[in-house]
Amino acid sequence: MGASDLFAALAINPAVILSIGAALIALVPNAQAQLRRPLMLAVVAISAFQLTRLGLGTWGDLVIFGEPVTMLRIDPLARMFAVVFHIAAALLIIYGWHVRDRAQDFATLAYPAAALGGVTSGDLVTLFVWWEVAAITSVFLIWAPGTRSTFLSGMRYLMIQVFSGTLLLAGVVLTYRETGSLAFNEIGLTDETGAIKASGLAMFVAFGVKAAFPLLHNWVQDAYPKSTLTGTIVLSIFTTKLAVASLARGFAAEPALIYIGAVMTIFPIFFALIENDLRKVLCYSINNQVGFMVCAIGFGTINGAAGYAFGNIIFEGLLMMALGAAVFRTGTSMATELGGLYRTMPLTMGLCIVGALSISAFPGTLGFVAKGLIIDAAAESHNLWIWLVLLFASAGVLEHAGIKIPFFTFFAHDSGKRPQEAPTHMLIAMGLAAFLCIFFGVQPQYLYALMPEPEALADYHSYTPYHVIEQLQLLVWATIAFGVLKVMKWYPAEIPSTNLDTDWFYRIPGRGLLFWAVDATKAVWSIAWEGMRVRFNDAMARIYAVHGPEGQLARAWPIGFMALSVAATLALALVFALAV
């Protein structure tokens, strides 16, 4: 194969188009910074056009150093994620229209590009490359505020993401050794005999870190809220959804995912209920929402997982944008310092409530359509406990995301703040997201048309009386519970506090252990380094002695020596020519 095939394969890839666009936009000088956002929108439009033009299929089937790879595969699963990534990227660019920061502008395009490249990769090597690019481009968003705490947080984030990438690489190598192929298809955690495969496990944990499985989740709450207003929203969308798409492709119907997902849906709720920082509440909500998707993958309903990811990106994004608008105007995201903003920000309030209804799966919204598939699959699996857990978690979503966010931001006690309405570009982005929430809620067939397994949806209907009544009961009772808790003053009051998550264990006792390990490593390293340094210097001195300007190889030799070297070569050549 030739290099031209490689370039051709790269040139048609929407993810590459976005990446190149990001690089070019980073070159726009700061004096013309206002040009960047319109250009970014144009790049997204070009990439979206390319995506529709390509349709379904595979491209870039190349043989690189003897191994077949597929650099671009758009099947229905990849397409669903690709479509929603484009929608999200466009909305976020509009939402951040006021941003004039080179690093953020670059990352807002390059990082979605990497996630897009990941979901559309047809082989494991391509996946690995995009996996790492996503880690590296996204860290710019965490570093964007430029303080020491965000820097450290970004480094921690990067460490964990690179750890995930390393595990993935190990998994790729092991898979290649087992199967002799680099194709990215069903991986599976166990082999035919039921024993756990090392390759499967490495990939599973690699995906799990990015999907923020329980106990691997702390980086989300650590890093995401520290980014800028718009940065947090960008971050919240892509990394975890890339992991969901990869899990759906590699580990569909893996029973372990049901339980992992169930735990993921439950535990963040408690943290979210007592958390005072509303941005952190939404970050916990990411875990909970991804939990539903992981559960759906475990049940084997890829439609449910992909559909919920699609919906979640839009309505969770809407909630985050609405909260972000409030923070943009007031400068705080603490529940204790917000409240009563509905007086001066009525439009934002209204849009926030659309998002809240949607995330709570209120009939007539995107959330209802998307979540129905998962709850249905849970019921059909005849696993009562899991079904109950998911119902409870759904109620919990209503509590912390559906009610807590709008209530404490726009109502609750009057904070006395009278900020302006959100800026127009934010209203446009939120309005579009809200429109999509309702549009897909009312016309679910358009969502179904994108689903990876349309045949499974043949006789499925969202709006059966059973589904609607079940969901309404849930919503009514959960709302009543909130009311009762509030009236009885049992609801956790807004207290300015810092809540400890499980990461306390590795931050405090773990830190001691870590520092001991660091000191030990440092000691060993300094001994080794000293030895290596001496060796290296010796080697360099020897290279310099031979190759340096006065060295034997670089000197201007007398002509006799030149002739001698030629004669020696001739002698050698004659020996080989005549002796063989």
């Binding site: 150093f65 670089a554 001739l570 004659l574 005549l578 063989v580």
Partner: protein, 504 residues
């Protein structure tokens, strides 16, 4: 059509007939314009020739209608058409480029002589490549070499060391040519013919004998010397360093390439790889020489203080890549070798041209002249950086295409270790190019001292357009052929299959 029939001979006959008139030109300007016209015409004919060969296949042209093997035959296939295009193309770009630069480096009275020698040199190199007659190769080789010695010696006005460099080159070049002609004598004894195709026909199927074996050894060493293969490169760094800047740009891009081409031609279509001793020579001698050149050449380049000298040593390494591709003995290897031969001509010419621009304004080719070049000569600096990236092998440049095919060829013959060594030696290229790029981009231009102003004591200006345009055409070619890889790779692939497989 009459022109189409005579096309193989036109690139040779045009300079042969017209170059001597350059001596009669009244001044340097007229000689320069004359040389531009002649080299331009040659380039045009070479391009037409390549187009024709690509369409109809091998063209055999009988000089004076004497049929080979008695008469001299010009035999053009894609391999030599491609090399001819490179040689005449670089000459056609160096001719307009040279005037401003050479005027400051040699005596005005010598300008007509310089342009005569320049055209003769190009003529000789084209002749070496075009001919299908083994002895004719020697004749043209001497024509080009003699004029090159004169061209290098012209640098003597600026730096007397050019005279010893030229003298050493003369001795060594003669030695190489002698070895080559001894090789030819032996093969003539063995086969009784000097026509390449006829030698091949005589050798085919016959058992090997020590005359043939010795002949090949002499030819490889003689041409290896002309190609500056390690360890026979010792004449080359000084010749490139002290020759006038424009001369360096031309001979670095063209003259060693002709020698590499002859090596490929003799190995595959004159002797043929069925001989066991040729396999052994390729495996043991050529591979060793190639690898040693790749590393020693590149490592020495790292420590040079003169940028011209650094580029010269880098050429030793780059010749190593070409010989490595050749030593694989496969179609893919020869294809990679031909691609790199063409591409390296493009990048080295651009690099030496940017050094010539610095030389014109600052009068030095030391690293010191490159400090903060972006602020003083932004276009020259950018050209150096682009061509340097190409030399390293960064994607979207021709250098990447070369390395790509070379790696593929290495993996194809199962020499993965050679692939790793290619990458490792490319990393050394990152160091020696990066070192100069760092000076260009990050250092401030000198505030005081002789380098704070140009040679006339005025603020440093960008090089004149007559130099910038040819240089940037080459940089553009570096990028264009890096993107349109099908052009070079496709032609080189077809040429290689003809050379190695024997069929077109």
């Amino acid at each position: 059509m009459i022109i189409a029939d005579q096309l193989p001979v036109l690139p040779i006959i045009t300079p042969l007939a017209l170059a001597p008139f350059t001596l009669l030109m009244p001044n340097g300007r007229a000689a320069h314009l004359w040389a531009m016209a002649v080299t331009g015409l040659s380039f045009l004919f070479c391009a037409m020739l390549l187009a024709q060969v690509a369409e109809v296949g091998v063209i055999s042209y009988q000089l004076g209608d004497w049929a080979p093997p008695l008469g001299i035959e010009y035999r053009v296939d894609l391999a030599n058409a491609l090399v001819m295009l490179l040689i005449s193309g670089v000459a056609a770009l160096v001719a307009p480029f040279s005037y401003e630069s050479i005027r400051t480096e040699i005596d005005d009275r010598q300008l007509p002589m310089f342009y005569t020698a320049f055209q003769i040199c190009m003529l000789g190199l084209l002749g070496v490549v075009v001919t299908g007659d083994a002895f004719n190769v020697f004749v043209f080789l001497e024509i080009s070499s003699l004029s090159t010695y004169a061209l290098v010696a012209l640098g003597g006005r600026l730096d007397r060391r050019a005279l010893t460099a030229s003298y050493n080159y003369l001795v060594m070049g003669t030695l190489g040519a002698t070895f080559f002609v001894i090789g030819l004598g032996l093969i003539y004894q063995a086969t009784g013919t000097l026509n390449m195709a006829d030698i091949r026909a005589q050798l085919e199927g016959s058992p090997s004998n020590s005359m043939v074996e010795a002949s090949f050894a002499f030819i490889v060493v003689g041409m290896g010397l002309k190609a500056a293969a390690f360890p026979m490169h010792l004449w080359m760094p000084n010749a490139y360093t002290y020759a006038p800047s424009a001369v360096s740009a031309f001979i670095a891009a063209a003259s060693t390439k002709a020698a590499v081409y002859v090596l490929i031609r003799f190995t595959f279509t004159v002797f043929g790889t069925d001989f066991e001793f040729i396999q052994a020579m390729m495996t043991y001698i050529l591979t060793t020489v190639a690898l040693a050149g790749m590393f020693f050449g590149s490592l020495v380049a790292v420590f040079q203080s003169s940028v011209k000298r650094m580029l010269a040593y880098s050429s030793v390494g780059q010749i190593g890549y070409m010989l490595l591709g050749l030593s694989f003995g496969t179609e893919a290897g020869v294809q990679a070798s031909l691609i790199h031969l063409f591409n390296h001509g493009l990048m080295k010419a651009a690099l030496f041209m940017s050094v010539a621009c610095v030389m014109l304004r600052l009068g030095v080719h030391d690293c010191a002249g490159f400090h903060g070049l972006t602020k003083r000569m932004p276009f020259t600096a950018a050209a150096f950086i682009f061509a340097g990236l190409s030399l390293i092998g960064v994607p979207l440049t021709v250098g990447f295409v070369s390395k790509w095919y070379l790696l593929q060829a290495a993996f194809e013959v199962g020499r993965a270790w050679a692939g790793f060594l290619i990458v490792a030696s490319s990393l050394i290229a990152v160091v020696y190019v990066g070192r100069v790029v760092e000076l260009i981009l990050l250092r401030a231009p000198p505030e005081e001292g002789p380098l704070s102003a140009d040679v006339n004591g005025e603020p440093v200006r960008e090089a004149p357009l007559s130099m910038l345009i040819p240089m940037w055409l080459l940089v553009a070619a570096n990028v264009y052929f890096g993107l349109r890889t099908d052009v070079t790779a496709g032609l080189a692939g077809r040429a290689a299959s003809a050379l190695v497989g024997g069929g077109q």
